[in-house]
């Protein structure tokens, strides 16, 4: 009887050991799988209302939010220190060619300036929008760079989607 009890006790101990081993193996498996998932995180963006930028120090500004294919371009905002124009250039084989010109703008801020283009822009074209002074020279910023915005006309980029 004592032997039987002893054997039963040994059996219980063996079972417990087996269970503990299984638990250890299971935890080890889980930890291993966690390590193989290599996801990290880059810095997140702040909320949109906090993404505020300073205005440029130059008194000359030009901004175009988008360029649609066609013969018309809307310049959202232009600010000139002196009277001048907005010129639109197309990028024809790398050589900029003027395809549009605003009416003479007085010094100050102008919004939603509509410019008719002499040749229609099409999806995929690249255009450059510059401020130009009255005698036709490009307006420069304090670093002697042209006040210029570049825009990709339309949504051509979508055709590149996953095509290799």
């Amino acid at each position: 009887m004592k032997n039987t009890a002893h054997k039963n006790k040994d059996g219980n101990i063996a079972l417990i050991v087996v269970v503990v081993v299984l638990v250890a193996v299971g935890i080890g498996f889980v930890l291993l799988q966690s390590k193989t998932s290599m996801s990290t995180q880059v810095s997140s963006l702040p909320p949109i209302e906090e993404r505020v930028n300073p205005s440029p120090q130059s008194g000359n500004k030009v901004y175009v939010s988008k360029a649609d294919p066609g013969t018309k371009l809307i310049v959202d905002e232009a600010e000139l220190v002196a009277d001048g124009y907005i010129y639109v250039y197309s990028d024809m084989a790398g050589k900029q060619t003027m395809i549009g010109k605003s009416q003479l703008l007085t010094a100050g801020v102008h919004n939603n300036v509509s410019i008719t283009l002499t040749s229609a822009s099409k999806d995929g074209d690249v255009i450059y929008v510059n401020l130009v002074n009255k005698d036709g020279a490009k307006v420069l910023d304090e670093n002697e760079n042209a006040i210029e915005m570049q825009r990709n006309v339309g949504i051509v980029m979508s055709h590149y989607e996953n095509e290799y």
């Binding site: 503990v20 205005s55 915005m149 055709h159």
Partner: protein, 598 residues
């Protein structure tokens, strides 16, 4: 006493059982929590499709006989079996047509012939596959006997009557299986070596409707993706192309659409992920020997909280090799801060989002002190990831490519920019004027396959320049070449037309994988004195409130980098005794196993 003992036994067993159940439940619970982000395999969602692919002989140079020193292509007939030479009789067959996806299970594959007359003679031949993923047509300098062969082969020994006008087939199932195990195929070539007695051969038609054909029945699995992208199709076959150049269409198992004008649907399409969506489709033809599960490990959470793919080694620690590589590891940069580069994040901010093909993301690390092959030493730390793969023609028409760039000058000034860089117009070396991107193209004979892009990312605040970064990236072994007459056409650099119309020297180029690269860091310019050190821009680098991309630019002008200026105005990238505003460095990213979509 015995009863007490039995009760104690029972209690012991019950306790053990309870402990076991608790342990199992605990393991399950921990698994569910820890594996929450595990991008598991979704094979349970796969559908199995049975398909038939038909490939045919399309050109006279796609069928050739060798008999000892004699060689012939085309003609109205060819023969299978043994000619005069019992040791050097060959028939080469190059089939083109439907694509069989990589990993497909081949149920049956057979080469079919139509004899040009009724014949009855014993034929013995050994059929092997050509192992190249893009077998070339045959010529006197590229005979069937010179081709690399598969391990698998099929021995044919038959003595049957072939009647004119009827079709007869040889089974090549194991050969085709080996070929598609390594890569998806739309061009499959075989070498049939005669192994019988002298003149034991049969003559067959070579062209038109009676030309030999290859018929393959296979089954493959497709995986479901986002509901907005159709994936499971009833017959995922691709129309046979009439051109000589292999047309590498995207795998029908994962491509959302083959029509580039379809409504953009790239709103976080999941690919092979399990529980979460990973932006960036990865086709089976780019995975190489690794599974999608392995590839899905390499992800990062982007600034928008979504999951993007990121850099990974060409060879995974598990031992498998991917079919593509991403160049230098950004983590090896001196200025790496632990933030993995989210591939595709920048283009995903476009409206509509754009999914730049994953394999095209290439990274470059130029650490301070690195000496290049010209003996020039990099003076600053820089690393960048730029999208520029050469596996397809889309790059010839895409004007903007994503650039994630980091620069820290020796003076401690930073310029961390991300945006769609302007890569300029494309042209060949023969164009006048030269374009910002110079690639190899049909009609312009050159000595080397060198392709170089000048890529510019300018940060502007309502037209006023704030920073400007130019990185030029180049490749010595571009996979595809340009057809100026049709920039959307795939022309492989080893194709006969490329050999004839581009290269002055017809060297083998079927090993081109777009992995021999060099890059130029710079010029880089700051125009930000008195400005902010952080700006938010649209994807093109235009500063706008609410902008989706964050730019980090030290509030200096370039001239603040005293001691590292060239002519007092430009950031000198190399030592003053050998001064340049660019630092060039060449490094190979080639490994065995890269595919043609690298």
């Amino acid at each position: 006493m015995l009863k007490v003992m039995k009760n104690r036994e029972s209690a012991g067993f019950a306790l053990t059982a309870v402990v076991g159940v608790i342990a199992l439940v605990g393991i399950l619970a921990v698994s569910m929590v820890s594996l929450g982000n595990f991008k598991g395999d979704i094979r349970s969602q796969a559908a199995v499709l049975a398909s038939t692919a038909t490939l045919a002989i399309q050109n006279s140079s796609d069928i050739a006989n060798e008999d000892g020193t004699e060689f012939k292509t085309g003609g109205s007939s060819a023969w299978v079996g043994t000619g005069q030479s019992t040791s050097s009789s060959y028939l080469g067959l190059r089939f083109q047509g439907d694509t069989v996806p990589k990993g497909a299970h081949i149920d049956s594959a057979k080469i079919e012939f139509t004899p040009n007359s009724t014949q009855w003679i014993a034929v013995k031949t050994k059929i092997s596959g050509e192992s190249s993923v893009a077998p070339a047509s045959y010529g006197s300098s590229s005979k069937p006997s010179s081709r690399g062969l598969t391990s698998a082969s099929k021995d044919i020994s038959e003595n049957s009557k072939w009647e004119a006008g009827k079709w007869y087939s040889y089974d090549v199932t194991p050969v085709v299986q080996e070929l598609v195990n390594s890569d998806g195929r739309s061009v499959i070539a075989f070498v049939l070596k005669g192994s019988g007695g002298q003149w034991g051969r049969k003559f067959v038609y070579t062209s038109g409707a009676n030309a030999p054909k290859l018929t393959i029945s296979y089954t493959s699995s497709t995986e479901t993706t986002a509901t907005s992208t159709p994936v499971v199709t009833a017959s995922p076959t691709v129309s046979a192309t009439p051109t000589a150049s292999p047309r590498a269409t995207a795998s029908p198992t994962v491509t959302p659409t083959q029509n580039p004008t379809a409504t953009p649907t790239m709103t976080m399409p999941p690919t092979t992920g399990g529980s979460g969506a990973i932006f960036g489709i990865v086709g089976a033809d780019t995975l190489g020997a690794c599974s999608a599960t392995v590839h899905d490990k390499y992800v990062v959470t982007g600034p928008d909280g979504k999951t993007y793919r990121t850099w990974h080694p060409a060879k995974d620690p598990s031992g498998c090799t991917f079919g593509h590589e991403h160049g230098d590891n950004p983590a090896t940069s001196n200025i790496y801060t632990g933030n993995s580069v989210p591939f595709g994040y920048i283009a995903a901010q476009l409206t509509p989002p754009m999914d730049e093909p994953h394999a095209g993301f290439k990274c470059f690390v130029h650490n301070k002190g690195t000496v290049n092959d010209e003996g020039r030493t990099m003076q600053h730390d820089a690393y960048y990831c730029f999208h520029m793969g050469t596996g397809g023609p889309a790059r010839f028409t895409a004007r903007f490519h994503s650039l994630d760039s980091h620069l820290k000058s020796a003076s401690g000034y930073v310029m961390n920019l991300q945006g769609m860089a302007d890569v300029g117009n494309v042209g060949t070396l023969c164009d006048n004027p030269r374009q910002a991107r110079t690639v190899q193209g049909l009609g312009c004979k050159i000595d080397s396959a060198y392709e170089i892009w000048a890529n510019q990312l300018a940060i502007r605040n309502k037209g006023n320049s704030v920073a400007n970064m130019i990185v030029s990236t180049a490749v010595f072994d571009p996979i595809t070449s340009m057809d100026p007459a049709d920039k959307t056409r795939i022309v492989y650099s080893w194709s006969p037309e490329a050999q004839q119309q581009i290269f002055r020297f017809n060297n083998p180029r079927d090993n081109f994988r777009g992995c021999q690269r060099e890059a130029y860091t710079g010029p880089a310019s700051w125009y930000n004195a008195g400005g902010s050190q952080v700006y938010y821009t649209d994807p093109y680098g235009n500063i706008v409130n609410g902008g989706v991309l964050k730019q980090e630019i030290s509030n200096i002008n370039t001239s603040a980098n005293s001691g590292y200026l060239l002519f007092g105005v430009g950031l000198r990238m190399t030592e003053s005794s050998n001064a340049q505003t660019q630092f060039k460095f060449r490094r190979s990213a080639c490994v065995s196993g890269l595919g043609i979509k690298n």
